[in-house]
Amino acid sequence: MSKKSETIGAVAVIGGGIAGVQAALDLADMGYKVYVLEKSPSIGGVMAQLDKTFPTNDCSMCILSPKLVDCARHQNIEILTNTMVEGLEGNPGNFTVKALKKPRYIDLEKCTSCGSCEAVCPVSLPNAFEYGLVKRKAIYKPFPQAIPNAYVIDKEGDGKHRGCVDCMRCVKECKSGAINHEQKAEQLSIHVGAVIIAAGSPPFDPVIKPEFGYKKYKNVLTSVEFERVLSASGPTQGKILRPSDQKHPTKVAWVHCVGSRDASVNHEYCSAMCCMYTAKEAIIAKEHASDIEPTVFYIDVRSYGKDFDKYINRAKKEHHLRYVRSRISEITEDPKTKDLIIKYEDDKGDFKEETYNLVVLSVGLCGAGERRNELMDILGFDANEFKYVRTSPDDPVVIKPGVFVAGSFLEPQAIPESVMQASAAAANAAALLKDSRGTLVKEKKYPVEKNVSAEKPRIGVFLCHCGINIGGYVDVPAVAEYVRSLPDVAFVETNVYTCSEDTQKKIVDAIKKYDLNRILVAACTPRTHEPLFQKSLRDAGLNPYLLEMTNIREQCSWVHMDEPRKATEKAKQLIAMTVAKTRFLQPIQEAEIPVLQKALVIGGGIAGMTAALSLADQGYETVLVEKESKLGGYLHKMYYTVDGLDIPRLIKQMTEKVSKHPLIKVHTSSQVKSLKGYVGSYESEIQTPTEAISFSHGVIVVAIGADEYKPHTYQYSKDSRVLTQSELEKDLSVLKKEDIRDGETFVMIQCVESRDEKRPYCSRICCMQAVKNALKIKELNPRAEVFLLYRDLMTYGFKEKFYKDAREKGVMFLQYDPEKKPELESKNGLVVKVYEPMLGELLKIPTDHLILSTGLQPNPDNPVIGKLLKVPLNEDGFFLEAHVKLRPVDFSTRGVFVAGNCHVPKFISESMYQAQAAAARAATILCKPTLKAEPNVVFVDDDLCSGCSICISVCPYNAIERVEEEINGKKVIHAKVNEGLCQGCGTCVSACPSSAIQQQGFKDKQLLPMIDEITSS
């Protein structure tokens, strides 16, 4: 008898951008059926259109594409493209989503994405993916890595241009009979337990701001268009050419805040990501063509995120971006040269004019997209004044029970925040549907693995053009010809994109048809693409570790663009080396690790409490350990927020929920003393005030917070009139109207001992804290004077409105130059001296109070906890996640997750959704009875091992021990590896003088032939 559940174990995710994809993958991995409803013909969203991503300059498509393919291949995910949501009925746990699936006119099962239809199509339309910078046909594939990987017919056109003319040439041309012009729209009723809205937010269209000349002058582009110009697969193949004459521009200007922070278009919010992508676009442009002289016209540089400040500093110092603080009044065109003249007012109030070859408008996001409004109406959501969906700050991703939100549908934001919210939304959905987990999913079945270990190698080689990324510089057919001559190579094929879904089918077919038993993919990096190809091997019945990859892109074509002939030779040699290794590949069977369905959360602040609650609500036993005597952490130093959160009440509510939850065990005044084991099977010892407790658990969430930095300057701690923002907040929370007299003056200085050489990071929260306290002062007595001395006011997103509010209430905002920091005179009264550029003179402000915004400093326990959990810290001392964009709560060490201020300073709601995200990611492990261990573990050859223990000393994971064993009646001492703990770093392998320790997949017998190959050829 199956368990009767009242909820439906399925979730509808509306929108297939990065947020939707992340939410879908998390839920599918947790054991829920997921429907992704995407209005366009491919998932991928805006991230698919970006060239690179800040602050790591990773190729956007390269890190996204594996996730899209994962989505397409996931047994539990059904992708519905061309699908519009039309209604939502039912109750939490049991909804019906009504949707209209528009016809694609292509049978997805049959389309091989060969492109022959496109070649014969006579209709030409602007290519929307390329923002109309080039044309496409009426039958088209949205972009090379599109998922589903199939063509689509545009019958409607775009209003100005006609779509398909029904000439039927494509039907004749299509060999697989995939085209069906008669396809009809379908009405879908999808039964789900929860809904996640991740429908995104369109970029601002600057046409309505005529002063910028967009669409009027050809050489004014938006930043999203410029992303395509930068992209190797874009309209100019990555060459920077301006539209008017296809000539290479040298003087290029970026204009910040187009359509953001702008009352005239009712966008009085900051779009949160533009400052950073502008710097990125300018840096990448310079990398493409070093003669480009980039200028950035800006108001503030909002580098509030992790490592953002360092990125901006590098942009200025190393890449010589010129930053001009200004307001632009007009952009006009020189009709002869088509150059653009920018008129602006600089920070001294002077009007200036400069001429540029190309202008890029850094456009923000626009809440008022047409489709968004429709969705909001259909689903009956409450919108805020910016036409974005409204959620509560202490429940940030919940729109209403059972309906959750993630990504820029909620607020303009960058990728990591979207990804965190997506996982958080998944956690909320999983909590609601915990009783029906696993009821609607299928287990992915792979064919039985063929034992090929004793077979003579028959290597299949797949060479990738990567569009023009490789093919534009390396003569791929010539390389293929050469590779055919290499020993044991039985099959060679070249692909436009080896990572595309149709190529995966080709790989599987080739393995079967040609009886291949080792596979080599010569393409890009295994870091992003290895799992994809490994799955293809499994689909074909081969052990996934019979795959090798050669990187002929990052390590060849990209770095030798100027020398195509030599690049071709190098590609041949790289592949020959890898063939030499591939011949010796052997199957690897990963160990199975049992998973204990219990979590340890370290830190009982808002992040820790939220993570514990989320895990427990999903049905997992959780132990919460807090060092202090009470839960709440940094919240105890906060009293109110601008968005109306009552902090003492929040602490009380959360503490009660956590303490009363039957699945949560709280230990206050306690610390983790020791930790052994690995993902799935940890063994911890906790020191409580009374005893030491040991227990086992499967995952760990670190949320140990941060604390306000105590300054050493401005007479702090020497003069009682000088306070930090938190100290002021405490005072203000108890003051009454009459406590502040008319004219009582407060001077606030931002970035005190912060964003400098010693603490080169922005703490993200202090500007808002200052604005909050300034507003509080004004609320208590509007006649009090508040001066706020700042460098860049980091009121990103909707926080901008409070900045505006403060200005309107008379708070004086004065920007200072970090080279000319404000100074304090404190002989009798306090006098702050600050250089004001507009006036060009030193202002002296007598004041009653001096308030210092110092930001947060990392918890001094971070290094200790980091060492205990074997997870890294960044240069500033905060925990360093696995990938800043796409894995913002994971560590590289499996089973350990991070949330809250110990990751980087952040606001309460941000900590909360990050904590829920950490809980979701942890749950993807906890929901499984067993896990597969790292495949590339090391093993010891007992015959060679002398037991010297050098390996033990160098192992960062304590994965090796020295054992004495009786073998055939003889006592033998040797090293022994714990496969669960081994992370496959290989440090021991290089340290072992006897070569007695070898790594799976990197054995001497596999690597030495590579060296032999390259040195002997």
Partner: protein, 373 residues
């Protein structure tokens, strides 16, 4: 430290030291003694493990070191150390090697009583076996010590000529030949609690006043340091891959050096394994590339690989050179290499068993000149 004196009867140095060792073995406090003792042919002395005091006829002065005694101690103690103390008589270089092996978990000092002897140096095995002088090598050496002549110098192994330190350190008991007239008295020092305990009941006399021993030790150390410094200066020229390759010209890849080395502790040398085996076409391709290809191809790689593995722990005993069938003067390369490499890591092999081998030590500030700054 307590210092005593062993009276030598009738100028019979060996007789008296053997008497001393027999007393030690008979005391019941140690169950066996590892001593250098002649094999029946008398041609050479080997480390011999003695359980019966009557069978003890050691020659602790014999100027020959056929095998690394440290390796022998490793053999005895590695799998399981003795349950009751055993005494081992070692030269200073072998104590240093043993300390390195202990750090590398290849030997144990549990229940090992280290009896160090002052080392006047050793001769190559063949010199010792067919000694050209009228006296036995041992008596020749005793004469040289007593008369303070340089007569033995001509026969010493090159490593011994420039010995790092002929006076043992880290021993429980030291038998000192310098700073005394050894035909009359031998100095016996106890440097540990167990050493003191063992000497307690033995027929020894208290040391007389004076600092003759101290002075003599200082002198001999200074003399050796001077010689070693000169040697290092002389051999400065062997630098660069071409000169090093030329230096190893006569290496036939027999790997005897690694067999003799007390630090080379691998069960099987990588260069003896099949890792470098390859198909014929690869050898032929190499020949085709340059027109010729010298075989065996990995002799130099072996020498440099071995050096890379052991040089930081090299105690300069010179047994590798003694083992070389083609008389490659290995110390001319290994002593300078050891000196420089150990200086870079501020490492002192054999000095202190708590000093970690550099391989397992990570210092953030080391080698800042290499790589990123």
């Amino acid at each position: 430290m307590t210092q005593k004196v062993l009276k030598v009867k009738d100028n019979d140095v060996l007789g008296s030291t053997n008497e001393f060792l027999r007393h030690l073995l008979s005391s019941g406090k140690i169950q066996a003694l590892l001593v250098p003792q002649s094999i029946p042919s008398k041609k050479v002395v080997y480390p011999v493990l003695i359980a019966d005091p009557k069978k003890l006829h050691a020659d602790i002065i014999a100027p020959v070191l056929p095998v690394a005694t440290a390796t022998v101690v490793s053999k005895i103690t590695k799998v399981q150390p003795p349950s009751k103390p055993i005494g081992v008589v070692l030269r200073s270089c072998q104590i240093r090697a043993l300390i390195e092996l202990v750090k590398l978990n290849q030997a144990s000092l549990t229940n090992i009583v280290l009896i160090g002897v002052d080392c006047p140096g050793t001769f190559p095995i063949n010199t010792y076996a067919g000694f050209p002088e009228k006296k036995t090598p041992t008596h020749f050496i005793i004469d040289a010590i007593t008369k303070k002549t340089n007569d033995a110098e001509q026969y010493l192994r090159s490593a011994c000529k420039v010995c790092k330190d002929p006076i043992p350190t880290n021993a429980d008991i030291i038998l000192g030949f310098y700073g005394t007239d050894i035909e009359k008295e031998i100095i016996v020092e106890a440097h540990s609690e167990i050493g003191k305990d063992l000497l307690k009941d033995l027929p020894l006399e208290d040391e007389k006043e004076g600092n003759a021993r101290e002075k003599a030790v200082k002198e001999i150390r200074e003399e050796k340091d001077k010689k070693r410094a000169m040697f290092l200066k002389e051999k400065e020229g062997i630098k660069g891959i071409e000169k090093v390759a030329e230096f190893f010209d006569k290496c036939v890849n027999c790997h005897n050096c690694r067999q003799a080395c007390p630090i080379c502790y691998c069960k099987e040398c990588l260069f003896d394994s099949s890792v470098f085996d390859a198909e014929a076409y690869k050898f032929i391709r190499r020949a085709e590339n340059k027109g010729l290809f010298k075989m065996p191809s990995d002799a130099l790689l072996f020498q440099l690989g071995r050096m890379n593995h052991m040089i930081l722990s090299c105690v300069e005993c010179g047994l590798c050179e003694q083992a070389c069938p083609n008389t490659i003067p290995l110390m001319e390369v290994f002593i300078p290499a050891a000196e420089n490499a150990q200086k870079e890591f501020e490492y002192h092999p054999g000095k202190d068993k708590t000093e970690k081998v550099p391989m397992i030590v990570y210092r953030e500030d080391e080698f800042l000149e290499v790589g990123e700054k």
